[in-house]
Assembly symmetry: C2
Homo-oligomer: 110 residues x 2
Amino acid sequence: MENVEREILLSFWKVHILHHAKKKPVIGQWVIRELRRHGYEVSPGTLYPLLARMAGRGWLRCRVDPEGGLRARKEYSLTKKGREVLSFLRDQVEELHREVVLGEEEEPES
Amino acid sequence: MENVEREILLSFWKVHILHHAKKKPVIGQWVIRELRRHGYEVSPGTLYPLLARMAGRGWLRCRVDPEGGLRARKEYSLTKKGREVLSFLRDQVEELHREVVLGEEEEPES
DNA sequence: TGGCCGTATACGGTTGTCGTAATGGGAGGC
DNA sequence: GCCTCCCATTACGACAACCGTATACGGCCA
């Protein structure tokens, strides 16, 4: 696939990020490497604002070594609110999977 | 859930749209109604540019009654290229589902 | 001290999203 | 014929997200 449905894929990766942040703290560079390992390039200019936004919304908590100065690595872990969001998204993924992958229909409304 | 993870949800709906467009032609108003039926509001200012973009990328073909003038309803159906994109996205949905819903791990690379 | 590596930031341009308001055409009433 | 209502799309201006590339900081090691 080309480069253009990143518009869609990026959202999938966001869910992945939340998921991983639940298991263990996540770091910008790690995400970039992980995505590259799977064949996708995400530039810092995309990823870091994304993490910052999720933190700003209260989904992730950012921990940073206060002695580390600027450019110290930042560890993002899932907050309570983030867990709620993730759980909600999980349901949505399941629904999408059920319909698009499994091919099950929903009954039309009267 | 609030209103803010539409940033993620909207991408899911895009996949839904492609999926439906494969089964039968899709119309802007229908999508808006359908989403509302599921409890989500998408405004025309979001949806129509989205459909137009997908058509511009060659994922959807737009058919319109030539006698209908401006504002005639437009039917979007999936093209060959759109089917390829959808098939690719299906795999991605499956992977996301496997990891986030089913909780299966991928083996780390050496 | 100098160079390299890992990490995050800055930034300017492009694209995507948002709500609301406006437009066009068709059908029904009368 | 004309008025009104409904269905559907378009226009638009503001805002948010995304993009790549260039830059900066700090640690480590020779």
